[in-house]
Amino acid sequence: MNKSKNADDGTRSSDNSDNSISTQLSRRTLLRSGVAAGSATLIPLVAVSCSSTPTPPPDSLSAELNAVLDAFADRILPPDAEGPGAAASGVTRYINRSLAEWNQADVPLVRGGLQALDAAARARHTQGFIALNADQQDSLLLAMEAGQVQDFANAQAVFNRLHRLVLEGMFSDPYYGGNANYAGWDLIGYPGAVLGSTEEMQRMGGRLPPLHTSAYGEQHDGH
């Protein structure tokens, strides 16, 4: 599968608004209607929690690097009038958890990369990355994305990996510590994890109303 692999092209912009169809379909209706087509099997829409609340693992990054990561994440997905940015949505918490559990191999890249980013900020502006204004941060990230930062040989690889981890944190199940209050899913209009869908949940014509459901129920450390 290459579901997310596509080239960038085209120039036009769309002027369609996001008409919610929530008037036709309330969250309550959706929660009640977990019946598969052609089957009498009732499927609960919220999964039974598979474990009790896990203890969050200790951070893999120092408080100082967490602050750099927060600042980086907020330039990828900045807060705006309609919703929080990546930092307030717990992306740094997600990344620490992934580094402690299944992404341990990435710890040197992430740790070294954030240190190098902070050092590059000091070299350019005599202060750390978190103290720069947004324009200064963006111009440094542009250089980083292009792999053109002095004394930061793997800047592009670090940027690409951090970019991916920010996306994972923002748009994954809040069970893992990011996507706090379902801010990521609300941003893109993904209603929530369900165990069955109805015809109404696949009807076009506007955004589906948010369900705010995790695959692991309400009891997890992501909230």
Binding site: M1, N2, S4, K5, N6, A7, D8, D9, G10, R12, S13, S14, N16, D18, A36, A37, G38, S39, A40, T41, I43, A47, C50, R75, I76, L77, D80, E82, W102, D138, L142, E145, H163, R164, E168, M170, F171, S172, D173, Y175, G184, L187, I188, Y190, P191, A193, V194, L195, G196, S197, M201, Q202, R203, M204, G205, G206, R207, L208, A215, Y216
Partner: protein, 572 residues
Amino acid sequence: MAIKLPETDVVVVGLGAAGGVAVLPLTRAGLKVIGLEAGTWMNPPTDYHADEIHNNVRALVTTGNKVGREVPTFRNTPDQVARQLPRHPMMNAVGGTSIHYHAQSWRLNPWDFRIRSATLERYGAAYLPEGSTVEDWPVSYADLEPFYDYVEYEVGVSGKAGNIQGRIDPAGNIFEGPRQRDYPMPPLRSCDYLDRMTDAARSIGFHPYRGPAAINSQAYEGRPGCALHGWCDRGGCHIRAKSSTDVTTIPKAQATGNLTVTDNANVRRIETDNSGKVTGVTYLRDGEEYFQPARAVLLGCYTYENIRLLLLSRSARHPDGLGNNRGQLGRHYFGHWDAQAGAGASALFPFDLNIWYGAIAQGVMVDDWADDNFDHAGLGFIGGATLHTYTEKHPIGAAAMGLYGRTPRRWGAEWKNHIRQNAGRWTSAYLQTNTLPYENTWADLDPNVRDPFGDPVLRITSGPKQNEAKAAAHAAEKMQQWFRAGSAIETTGQGGTGPSLSTHAHGGTRMGLDPGTSVVDAFGFVHDVPNLGVVGGSVMGTAGARNPTQTLQALAWRSAEHLAAQWNTRTA
């Protein structure tokens, strides 16, 4: 010293898509069967999750304990050192990869079985791709039709027939070969987006149909209909609606009383006697080594392990590996992704598609540009690809969408607005290309990389394929045309970036009549080892424009039925 167990009639190595089907006709024929599986039983309600991190990021369903330690190495040309990927989506479990595949369940097109002669007849020798080792299969579509039918009814496949005994129904796939009857279940539920794309296809003269799926569209044989919750890709089914063999043919075989499932069994060697016949297999379980004697063995692992186990099972009579006395083992290997890695098309629509939920197999298909369904004169290639658009979008993947030229970069406030508006408005298509075997593509043992037992892993060498690359690029153009007809405002398409390790691995123990160009005979038994059969994608000589699963299941059924019918001859 291995612990010697009591003899059984048949050992089946690997209880996945193929081996998990073969056990049913064997046990129904009254043969005592021991199924040796490297993994164990999954528990669907607790082992599978509606979770992109679990399924797609961490790949916890598709990464088995054993397959994870023996991922093949890969290179493009013999002068390169092959490299091992950290992981590859396979699975060790009762049910194997039939648990996490998309469960589109296809018959091949009749053309797929006789590409060589059909191409010579219609276009002439110049149209046979240079360097290809393609042969006609030793079985035809008509030979396999009864076995396709068994699989569709015993495994459980939903769909709509397009050709019942020659009667064409445009509601189904008009290009399919004749079938004796319709599917046991109607297609999976449709949805607005798929209805729109169906109409769009008809408006430009294409012939759309609902793709067949080994997924219940309604209650069938005690299992419920699909809930279309959107976590089929690389995940298992929490309600057993996907017709993986662990919930279909394997339990049916157990019900005969003739199947013993031995899980966590790591088969190391297939053993032979001085006459060259198979005597059984040696396996490890919980640190103990066992020898399981058997009158016959069916090897039913994934393509990579079928080839590797045969290469590793050397003896005086088979010094280069079982089935390799003519140097054919590992030859004629090829994968669906040999030419089309990265091939595909995507589209941005001016409205929300609401295809978050559903299933990859909840799709609509077009076969007009696959197989030999169109005139290839002057095009410079044979074959083509199926076009498939579908539902099931996961939020991380949706947010990692293309820019479509609408925003300068993939981060920042403007990009955030881009994904806010468009993450639910884009989709991609799945294009599967007819693929042939080539001289420049084969499998052998890696000289450098070993598994924890010290055995070499398999090494894939896969050179470029011009024919398949052109076919994929042609199909990508057609897919974009279809998207536009469906009112997409932006499309992308590309023909592929070249060979990569495939999840649709074919060949390597090719089926054929000539022992000089194949490993197994027309029934799937090793030419010079009458009591050793091979089931799985490794016996297939060509790849259709669709996944191989139902075909390798039909072939497995046929091999098993043949073994039971010819028991005395095969085991004499």
